[in-house]
């Protein structure tokens, strides 16, 4: 242990701790615009400067390890002066207009300028080169606003192993972006938006679809319905100053109704449907390999996460046959809304507008994929991120915190707890196991509270094995089979697992979520998301699941009725037409 003093308070911390971290332990917050937890400090923004007795110049506390007897001052006059100087320099280069910036209400640079009491910028001169990249359906980059903190580079390279962003050029002319003058749509960007989630300013933001949604709501000829992903209910509250991990399902429903949506439905409904389709698909693949002894392309990978689909299409095209052919819940919902539901209410599909609220930016990309149209009609018309929904509710003057709880509409608003947990890493797998185990054995999954413990939590790569015994006659070929499953979140972990699979590691079923923690940590969620926030949101999701009497997808009456009335059976002809898709290799600039 190392003993040092921070602002005259003595503290003992393990060797190798940074000054920044040590200060946090005694409740002193040192501002930073570039530091990212769990990753090596870059020291790029220079905002976290502190004074260390005996060292002439201020040091960056994020990258400076503590030393025995060190005396640190975090807010002395000299520190305040240097910090102000650094932030003024950043502001002098920053080409942005706060009044019209999407980050107006959560810009870290703006908040810091305020905190430091900067009332004018003493430097005038050249500004950063302003180039707008609006080449993708999900993200917009503005190099003028970029302060080159490099957080996006850490997430794009180290967290996601995507490698689309890197510093280009040098000195004042340098910019952050893809190689040379390429735009995001010509490189292997998966549009996960993790860069937008960590950007301290408005240099990378989601493509805003609020105006499109207002226009649809204002159009009397359109029957506008909305679906909300499971991860929204555990995060939307943060847009209205609720603590992370506050469940706001009921208020969210009321707010959506007040915004003018004709029906408030749940992506959860389609998540339950996904379990039946994808679970059946897995059983078919197992049968094919165990009974027919034919190649069945195992492991089967989940297909809910569009960033992951992009990643596979770019990086592992030889494994595309392994990805479940199920469309994601968002797209299953859209397809059913414009067929099954349209027929049910007697409205032409072209007059129905489907709006999704997603924790995700890649969902904006997914919705406009050519595979996601039927007879020229787009299954999902507009995708809003959680942040956009928060803004829209504010635009409508709705006092969110005082709203009464509402209930989702039937039938596409009915869902099980198994659907809720699609929001976090391990959840899709657990939901599938709850159903598949019961179908195969006729018994309930014999685990505590129906959870699969080894698959829960924030560990990067999680594995579990489940021995199947006491099978029903139809499934006797599975008797004694040990089912190996894997769960990963963030694409860096996905790459590691893919390489293990290439090297012969065996799995039957693998769940992949693109973002750290799963969808609750998605690129479209309220900022700022760190592990503490992720864990709180996950806890909320499990609370939602455990609070329901309906906990298994195959017991959702609305889904059973959908099969009886319309789809007939999982993987049937109708399902294939509406709920399944295919993938294609995409050659773009990446690795």
């Amino acid at each position: 242990m190392i003993t040092l003093s921070i602002n005259n308070t003595r503290i003992q911390v393990p060797e190798g701790t940074s000054i920044l971290k040590a200060a946090e332990l005694i409740g002193v917050k040192i501002p930073t615009l570039c530091f990212l937890e769990n990753y090596e400090a870059k020291g790029a923004c220079r905002v976290c400067l502190v004074e260390v007795k005996g060292i002439k110049n201020p040091v960056t506390s994020c990258s400076m390890p503590v030393a025995e007897g060190m005396e640190v001052f975090t807010h002395s006059q000299a520190v305040r002066k240097s910090r102000k100087f650094v932030v003024e320099l950043l502001l002098s280069e920053h080409d942005g207009d706060c009044k019209t910036c999407l980050r107006n209400d959560d810009c870290e640079l703006k908040a810091l300028a305020m905190e430091l009491g900067i009332d004018r910028v003493h430097f005038e001169g050249e500004r950063a080169l302003k180039l707008i990249d609006d080449s993708t359906p999900a993200l917009i980059r503005d190099s003028g606003k970029c302060i080159k903190c490099r957080r996006c580079i850490t997430v794009c390279n180290e967290v996601q192993s995507v490698g689309s962003l890197y510093p280009q050029g040098r000195g004042f002319q340098s910019s952050i972006g893809p190689a040379f003058a390429h735009m995001l749509n010509s490189v292997t960007c998966v549009q996960c938006g993790q860069c937008a989630a960590v950007c301290p300013v408005g240099a990378i933001v989601e493509r805003d679809h609020i105006e499109d949604v207002w226009r649809a709501l204002d159009n009397p000829d359109k029957f506008v319905i909305v679906q909300t992903a499971p991860a929204i209910r555990a995060a939307l509250g943060e847009c209205f100053d609720y603590e992370p991990g506050t469940l706001v399902t009921g208020k969210m429903v009321t707010a959506l109704r007040q915004l003018g949506f004709k029906k408030v439905f749940d992506t959860n409904f389609a998540a339950d449907l996904t379990i039946l389709e994808e679970g059946t698909e897995l059983l078919h693949r197992l049968k094919k390999t165990l009974v027919e002894k034919k190649e069945a392309f195992l492991p089967q990978f989940t297909s809910c996460s569009p960033g992951w689909i992009n990643y596979m299409e770019f990086n592992f095209p030889e494994y595309l046959n392994h990805i479940s052919t199920c469309k994601s819940p968002q797209q299953m919902f859209g397809a059913l809304a414009k067929t099954f539901y349209a027929e049910k209410i007697g409205v032409l599909p072209e007059n129905i507008t489907v709006v999704s609220v997603m924790p995700c930016t890649a969902k904006k990309y997914e919705a406009q994929r050519p595979e996601m149209f039927q007879n020229g009609i787009q299954d999902v018309d507009y995708v809003l991120t959680t942040r956009e929904l928060g803004r829209m509710i504010k635009q409508a003057g709705i006092d969110f915190r005082s709203l009464p709880d509402g209930e989702m509409d039937t039938p596409m608003g009915i869902s099980s707890g198994a659907a809720d947990i699609f929001a976090n890493s391990g959840g899709v797998m657990e939901a599938a196991i709850r159903t598949v185990y019961e179908i195969v054995t006729g018994r309930e999954l014999p685990t505590e509270n129906l959870h699969v413990k080894p698959l829960m939590g924030l560990e990067g790569i999680k594995k579990a094995s489940l021995k199947i015994e006491g099978t029903k006659p139809d499934w006797s070929f599975l008797e004694g089979v040990e089912l190996h499953v894997g769960v990963v979140h963030s694409l860096g972990n996905a790459r590691e697992l893919m390489e293990a699979i290439q090297n012969g590691e065996q799995f039957h079923f693998v769940e992949v979520m693109t973002c750290p923690g799963g969808c609750i940590g998605g690129g479209g969620q309220p900022r700022y998301t760190n592990d503490e926030v992720r864990l709180k949101r996950i806890e909320a999701i499990y609370r939602e699941d455990e609070g329901k009497s309906l906990r298994k997808s195959h017991q959702n009456e609305a889904i059973l009725k959908l099969y009886a009335e319309y789809l007939k059976e999982p993987l049937g002809e109708m399902s294939h037409r509406l709920l399944h898709t295919h993938y294609r290799e995409k050659e773009q600039l990446g690795f």
């Binding site: 890197y166 050029g169 893809p178 190689a179 990446g590 690795f591």
Partner: protein, 169 residues
């Protein structure tokens, strides 16, 4: 070229030898950290600049993202992604050369070649660059043409200095 010599290649090597060498170096260094810059140097030696296709190949072979390789190419001023002239003229703008008239030498060079810094003459004879100290401050102001150091350059003598590098008519 000094950059190429560090990689163990003789400046008289033929393209074929360089390609063979490049492939061999890629095979040997695929998994090793630090292989990128020598490979880029070799490639630049082969083509006279770094074509995008070559950068892509190196990125794929070394499993380093294309954006990162491009970032490194853009960072070091010795790398160029545009074709270079047969002769590379570098005018030193380091402190010693600057105070002894390096800037006037650069202006005169621009006028003589009728190109700006980072550009190549239409006949592909000359490219113009600036240097940041060649370590010959005692001879300031200094211009390097290819591997030759021209010392105590006078703006008025530039046309004559260039003459020997032009293709004989």
């Amino acid at each position: 070229m000094e950059t190429a010599n560090k990689t163990g290649i003789q400046s008289s090597a033929t393209d074929e030898e360089i390609i063979q060498h490049l492939d061999r170096v890629i095979q040997e260094s695929r998994e090793k950290p630090g292989a990128l810059i020598p490979l880029l140097q070799l490639t630049q030696k082969m083509y006279g600049y770094l074509p995008e296709a070559a950068i892509k190949k190196i990125s794929r072979e070394l499993k380093i993202p294309f954006s990162e390789v491009a970032g490194i190419v853009g960072f070091y001023s010795f790398f160029s992604t545009v074709p270079k002239g047969r002769n590379v003229v570098r005018v030193c703008q380091g402190t010693a050369c600057y105070v002894r008239g390096g800037n006037e030498v650069l202006s005169a060079m621009k006028n003589e070649l009728k190109i700006g810094v980072g550009e190549t003459t239409k006949d592909r004879e000359f490219s113009l660059e600036v240097g940041r100290c060649f370590g010959a401050c005692g001879l300031a102001p200094v211009v390097m043409i290819n591997n030759d150091v021209i010392q105590r350059v006078k703006p008025s003598k530039i046309a004559e200095s260039l003459k020997v590098y032009r293709v004989k008519p």
